[in-house]
């Protein structure tokens, strides 16, 4: 298992490298640069100022040299400094990532629990009104983009009903408390979770339906097991194996989705940091974020594979 994990990481390194090159080129193909974003065009000595600042940031160097510098710093363990604030990028990511993980974590928890639960009910009561209702809910959920859902949630639950705050992570000017934090977290987490819930629900339903008529399920009933034991230990235990892969793939989708949701809800995670960095052409921050996302994808795949092997003895013993 350890050799396998190490091998997987080594294979991923060149892929990550290629991704950084592509993103670096894309970031530089965008019109304008960090300096133009910070200096007002009304300034009398605009041209000189821009030139000076570009020189300071190394933006006047050829592209390959800029990339080389970035890569050199990376090998020394530094992600560089933000063009806009001068803050070390590594530091920026470290302070913001807990917020993103909190958002992702709760979304994942909601969507997995709800998705598996509803999917199982939907399959066990196939073709019942309940199943049709859940199917409708599922297709609606899959069809609504999460940013739109986020805005609907803000409109209904924050603006009209006033049950939850519209944005932010804590109420400004108050001391940090978990209840306040969770109240802020609920709407963005829900917006992010609902699409995933629908996806997990549909996959669980299909998977349970496949297992439900297996001979070993009949064996379990013939042994006199209760419906609960039959459902949980014999049906779900088998049906969830393929769902693990779907959840794994969606970890990365969740990470990507958090960019939009964080921006809509002003959630101070790295997704919002990334959007701001793009607006300000802050390429060290953009590159830092991309590196982190590549790492997240790699980690998600690895975790999926390892979980899979624990869930299925046939793979574990190979």
């Amino acid at each position: 298992m350890t050799t396998y994990i190490v091998r997987r990481i080594l294979i991923s390194l060149p892929i990550i490298l290629v991704i950084t090159v592509i993103v670096f080129l894309l970031a530089n193909m965008m019109p304008g640069d960090a300096v133009m974003a910070m200096i007002s065009s009304d300034s009398p000595m605009e041209a000189d100022l821009i030139k000076l600042r570009q020189g300071q940031l190394g933006l006047d160097l050829p592209l390959y040299e800029q990339y080389g510098r970035w890569l050199g710093n990376l090998l020394k363990g530094s992600l560089g400094y933000s063009f806009q604030t001068g803050e070390p990028v590594g530091q920026m990511i470290l302070t913001r990532i807990p917020a993103t993980l909190e958002l992702m974590g709760l979304s994942l928890l909601i969507s997995v629990i709800l998705g598996v639960f509803l999917g199982t009910i939907s399959a066990m009561k196939q073709y019942s009104p309940m199943d049709y209702g859940l199917t409708l809910f599922g297709f609606t959920g899959i069809s609504i983009p999460d940013f739109f859902l986020g805005m609907i949630l803000i409109f209904i639950f924050a603006l009209k009903l006033g049950w939850f705050p519209t944005s932010g992570m804590v109420t400004a000017g108050t001391e940090f408390s978990w209840s306040d934090n969770l109240r802020h977290l609920f709407l963005p987490a829900l917006a992010l979770a609902l699409v995933r819930t629908s996806v997990f629900m549909r996959y669980t339903r299909a998977s349970v339906l496949e297992v439900i008529n297996e001979d070993y399920v009949r064996t379990a009933r013939a042994k006199g097991m209760t419906e609960r034991v039959v459902t949980v230990r014999h049906i779900l235990r088998n049906a969830l194996i393929p769902v693990i892969t779907v959840i794994g793939i969606n970890l990365t989708v969740l990470f990507a989705g958090s960019v939009i949701i964080e921006t809509i809800f002003q959630w101070p995670g790295i997704g919002m940091m990334f959007i701001n960095a793009i607006a300000l052409r802050d390429s060290p921050v953009i590159m830092g974020y991309v590196l982190i996302s590549a790492f997240v994808v790699l980690l998600a795949n690895l975790v999926t594979d390892v979980t899979y092997s624990f869930a299925d003895p046939r793979i574990r013993y190979e």
Binding site: E214, D215, Y216, T219, A220
Partner: protein, 334 residues
């Protein structure tokens, strides 16, 4: 004397795509303690559905037991609550299925699966259940039983898995064991081993057995009596020797003719029964075998022949049973 099992007028139907499938149409039979019975018939004759109905394993939708009684030790199983029925299933009546490759849960260890009924029905604690599980595995002839409890089904061969299924069926010393074509999916040599094993265990534990098969030759040597089913009806029932020597239904005769024998010449084709199995979507208004029967008379096409006595303990659902028994004395032919 009360019987261990008494099935009376059992009717089971399936509903799919607006059609009604008449799977089992009022079958009745009895089984005494320690007795063994074979139910034979072709695919779709209702033999499996019949025993699944006894076990309460027909699920609605699509299927439902719609009539009759299943008296087991005097209690009607069809009237039991789900909880009471669960105690019977795997406790007093247990079942071995056709395909051992798919009948075991692939992600649970064999030990876990064997221990489940021990803990549920007998209330054993983990250690006791494990000890008993190992004991059962050695009983069915698996070597290194104690160590193999932690292994998963895919680590066993087909024959071994069927032995595990049998061990699982025997966990609670059932009074009735139902074997639903347990050897069909196995090699011929393994088949013989499994048959031997079941016979030996039956004698040792004095369990009554219902052995379901489409293979008349296979069951000949191991049961006391035979029921032949066709199109959801019992068409003949007799003590095993009587059935083989003097069958009283054209269908049974056809089945006996279809058994290949060793002295058959190479050029000779295997005997078969002409025609197609009946359409179960229509309720029978005539003898269901009439379209394929070489001895058909007008009466066969007008009424469903009832099952009636044609000899001691021998019943047949054929209008011409007596004539046929005189024509065909298999005892002399064989």
């Amino acid at each position: 004397m009360t019987h261990l099992l008494e099935v009376k007028d059992l009717v089971t139907r399936f509903y799919s795509d607006g059609a009604t499938i008449h799977a089992v149409n009022g079958i009745s039979y009895t089984l005494d303690e320690g007795e063994s019975l074979a139910i034979v018939g072709e695919s779709g004759s209702g033999k499996s559905v019949g025993v699944m109905s006894i076990m309460g394993l027909i699920r609605f939708p699509p299927g439902r037991v719609e009539g009759g009684e299943v008296l087991f030790k005097g209690r009607d199983l069809l009237k039991l609550s789900p909880d009471e029925m669960r105690a019977v299933r795997g406790g007093e009546i247990s079942m071995v299925f056709q395909d051992p490759m798919t009948s075991l849960n692939p992600v649970l260890s064999v030990g876990q699966q064997l221990m489940e009924p021990l803990r549920a029905h007998l209330g054993l604690d983990k250690a006791a259940a494990r000890a008993r599980a190992a004991e059962l595995l050695s009983l069915v002839g698996l070597p290194n039983a104690a160590e193999r409890l932690k292994d998963y089904p895919f680590q066993f061969s087909g024959g071994q898995r069927q032995r595990i299924m049998i061990a699982m069926a025997l966990t609670c010393n059932p009074s009735l064991l139902i074997a639903d074509e347990p050897t069909t999916a196995l090699d011929v040599t393994i088949q013989a081993q499994i048959v031997e094993l079941v016979k030996e265990l039956q004698e040792r534990l004095n369990t009554a057995i219902i052995w379901i098969s489409h293979n008349l030759a296979l069951v000949a040597g191991m049961v006391d009596k035979v029921i032949v089913m066709y199109s959801g009806y019992i068409i003949e029932q007799a003590p095993v020797d009587d059935l083989y020597e003097q069958p009283a239904h054209p269908y049974t005769m056809g089945l006996l003719h279809a058994i290949p024998s060793l002295d058959q010449r190479n050029q000779e084709r295997l005997a078969s029964i002409e025609g197609m199995p009946p359409d179960l979507r229509k309720a029978a208004t005539a003898c269901p075998f009439a379209p394929r029967c070489p001895y058909v008379i007008d009466r066969c096409l007008q009424e469903v022949p009832p099952l009636r006595a044609v000899g001691p303990n021998h019943t047949s659902a054929c209008w011409r049973a007596e004539e046929l028994r005189k024509i065909h004395n298999f005892g002399e032919e064989l």
